[in-house]
Symmetry: C2
Subunit: 119 residues, 2 copies
C-alpha cells in the first residue's frame, strides 16, 4: 500500500511499447507505458482496454476512423475491436485492463511483452 | 465509444460524494466524484478501490495512518481495509473499482448512493 506518483513512475523508465504494472485492483492492472511510432493492428478477444493520455497526444486508429486523445482524455476500446495506436511524438499513457491482457492481443510477434515488469 | 475528457465531465456536476460512472471496462467502472468534508468510515468486503486525484488534495485516513494524495497521485485500498476520505477543500477524484462497489461499502446510511448516474 503505497502512494503512486504517476510522473515519478514514468521517470523510472525510457523504453517504449513496454507496459509497466504500477497497480493491482482485484483482477485488473494499472499500467504505465511510453509510446512512440506505430504499433501493430490487434484486438483483444475478451478484455476491454482503457487508454488515458497523461502527456502528449495519441492517435488510436480503428478500422473505420481515427480517435485522437489529448492529455486528460481517455478512450475505452471494447474487446473484439481492432485498433492501432500511433504516436507521432512520444506520449505517456496510463492503461487500465484485466490482468490477462497481452499488449499485442491476438497477435504474437517481436512486440509482444508477456512478462510484465512491475514498478 | 467516445473520447472522455475528464475535466469536461467534471464540469457537468457540482454535487459531492456522488460518484458518476464515466466508463465501463469489462466488470469495472471508471467514476468521477467531487469530495468535500469528511465521509464515513467503511470498508469493502470484496472490492479493491483506486483513488486518483485529478484536482486538489485528498486525505485518506486508515486506522493506523493518514495517506495524503496530491494531483497525479493514486492509492489503492485493498478490500477489507477500513478507510475514511477527508477533503479539507474540494477535491476531484477518479475512482476505479469493480461494478459491484458501493460507495459506503459495508455501511448503509444517508450517504449511500446505490443508483449511480452515468455521464
Amino acid at each position: 500500500m503505497e502512494v503512486v506518483n504517476i510522473a515519478e513512475k514514468l521517470s523510472q523508465f525510457q523504453d517504449t511499447w513496454s507496459p509497466k504494472v504500477v497497480g493491482v485492483i482485484n483482477d485488473f492492472h494499472v499500467k504505465l507505458v511510453k509510446l512512440q511510432g506505430e504499433f501493430v493492428w490487434h484486438h483483444h478477444d475478451v478484455e476491454d482496454e482503457l487508454f488515458l493520455v497523461v502527456k502528449g497526444r495519441l492517435c488510436i486508429k480503428l478500422r473505420d476512423r481515427d480517435v485522437w486523445l489529448n492529455e486528460g482524455e481517455f478512450f475505452i476500446i471494447p474487446h473484439g475491436v481492432e485498433h492501432l495506436p500511433v504516436a507521432e511524438e512520444e506520449v505517456h499513457v496510463l492503461l487500465l485492463e484485466p490482468k490477462s491482457t497481452l499488449n499485442t492481443g491476438n497477435i504474437q510477434n517481436e512486440r509482444t511483452v508477456s512478462d510484465l515488469q512491475q514498478l
